[in-house]
Symmetry: C2
């Protein structure tokens, strides 16, 4: 009798342990239970179920993530622009003419409105004056040094701490399930490569972004690559599918964005055959982060809200779907 | 006594098995014993020995391989050019004007000399007429269909069988030791992506090459990427370090080439700090493959032969160092 009971207990333990092992701990603890989390879990379970019609082989499990506004915040201005402004301030002593010259004057005065008024040409001028003329290694060091000291105006934290905890969990969850995760961002490739490997676990060769031209030269017997003040590629809007094809060479099966600059990426990814996941982060949490969409100059989201749902894309409400926004 | 003997036997077996396991089977069976093979083995052993000064962490174990002449043959002309010529022949019925127009006339007549006389401009015209106007997927299918039927004029084998067995072993050996292997070739990215994953085990996102421009468009509700007849990037000579930086974003620690078009790639890779491996395949085997170097229009190798040895690069003699050239 005692033996039977023991057997029963062992069986019971084995079963419950088995179930616990099969379910495992929640891979997305910062996501509230709801349709967004359910959609992600169902997608991953479907494409990893060997022998089913939805199964996707590991090499084809490519997931692409926008960065600004999708993996980290982008308000009150793209963090790379805030970096450029800080660089202008740091370099200003050697450029007295900047005091009266736009877009530098606006940057030196920290006047984002006046800076925006200089238009795309003004922003490009600012980027070229601060992002070119050195090797990629030297540039990455400048970015890392900036991250070590600069603080966000609202949250007073280093910018690379203003990454979204739920998205960090999502990146890990996908990789644990055989996905290769890529960044596909309008931001500069080298600006991102400086820190994304440590922060997101994404190595340099999996970062697709906007680029300036570079050249190879041998100076005093030392070969080096130099960044030139000329645009090479803008990885935004219809440029995103183009960049994906150029760098990845495979149509991804999952795409994550937050603005209409990600529209074509989501469109291209989710129009492919078989199971696809398209997800848009909707910034609707003024308290914990920022609330903006249709009328925002940065990260404008209108077409995605209008067309996303009927295209089968999941709109994530930061307010409702995220238990936590930033890592603690 | 018997017990002592048995213990001795067990110890002996354990030791010999241990040694056999440590050495394992020869990872490079198609390489003859000699300085080239010894150099490769010593490099890999050094950089994978944890706790030593030469140790390189896995993410930094990046190895870059030229393709034409390094991983597969390139005579009597780059195989991609032979493909373009076959495409001109296939498309000729719809282009009666090609019969009298260069470079098409030369291509239709299979006259490589006349074709070469049309210069770079002629070759580009040929490439644009045969490589653009379709999606990357459609183009890759055209390449695969060609590989299935076309035969090399000397060896009468499919072109993708004319890959070098010793280099296939080297690719595998490096990957088994934690290296990530990339192609960095002057050849077209999509031409390579069509077959290199199956043949070399190198996925599309690890192929760096020359590219034409592409655009994203939605036609009848179906999004697609279209190849345009405009050069985007030439991945040759000083373009190779530029391409490596753009796509990989890390300085590789090992580089493999065969012509002076690979010089800057080897220069950049081997000038880095720490242990580096630079290797040049010298085509000196007229019997089993082809013999050419300083005076060849294709795969010219002069500077590499002159400067390579004192830069610490290993010159591989196909004739002396390779037991076997192609897979059987």
């Amino acid at each position: 009798m005692f033996r039977k009971m023991l057997q029963g207990l062992v069986l019971c333990l084995a079963l419950s342990t088995g179930i616990a092992l099969a379910q495992g701990p929640d891979p997305l603890p910062s996501w509230n239970e709801g349709p967004a989390k359910a959609r992600i879990l169902a997608f991953v379970q479907a494409v990893t179920a060997a022998g089913t019609k939805d199964f996707i082989a590991e090499p084809d499990r490519i997931a692409v993530f926008d960065n600004d506004g999708t993996l980290w915040s982008e308000q009150p201005a793209y963090f790379q622009l805030l970096f450029a402004i800080d660089r202008v301030k740091a370099l200003a002593p050697a450029h007295p003419e900047w005091k009266t010259q736009q877009p530098f004057k606006a940057a030196l005065e920290g006047d984002l409105k006046a800076l925006a008024a200089t238009g795309e040409k003004g922003l490009l001028t600012l980027v070229m004056a601060t992002h070119a003329g050195m090797t990629p290694e030297a540039f990455r060091k400048i970015v890392r040094d900036w991250l070590a000291t600069a603080r966000h105006p609202k949250f007073h934290r280093p910018y690379n701490e203003l990454v979204f905890q739920p998205m960090l969990e999502l990146l890990k969850y996908l990789r644990a399930n055989g996905f290769t995760t890529f960044i596909v961002s309008g931001g500069g490739v080298e600006f991102m490569r400086a820190w994304v490997e440590e922060t997101y676990g994404i190595p340099p060769q999996q970062v697709v972004g906007s680029t300036i031209k570079t050249k190879y030269e041998v100076r005093d017997g030392v070969p080096r690559i130099v960044r030139l003040p000329q645009v090479n590629f803008i990885d935004d809007g219809p440029g995103k599918p183009v960049g994906i094809n150029q760098f990845i060479g495979r149509r991804p099966v999952a795409a994550f964005g937050n603005s209409d600059g990600d529209f074509q990426m989501l469109e291209w990814v989710t129009a492919g055959d078989g199971p696809r996941l398209g997800l848009i982060v909707h910034h609707d949490d003024a308290e914990r982060e920022f609330a903006y969409d249709r009328k925002s100059a940065i990260g404008k989201l209108a077409r995605g809200l209008d067309e996303g749902p009927r295209r089968g894309w999941t709109i994530v409400s930061m307010k409702a779907d995220w238990k936590q926004v930033y890592p603690r």
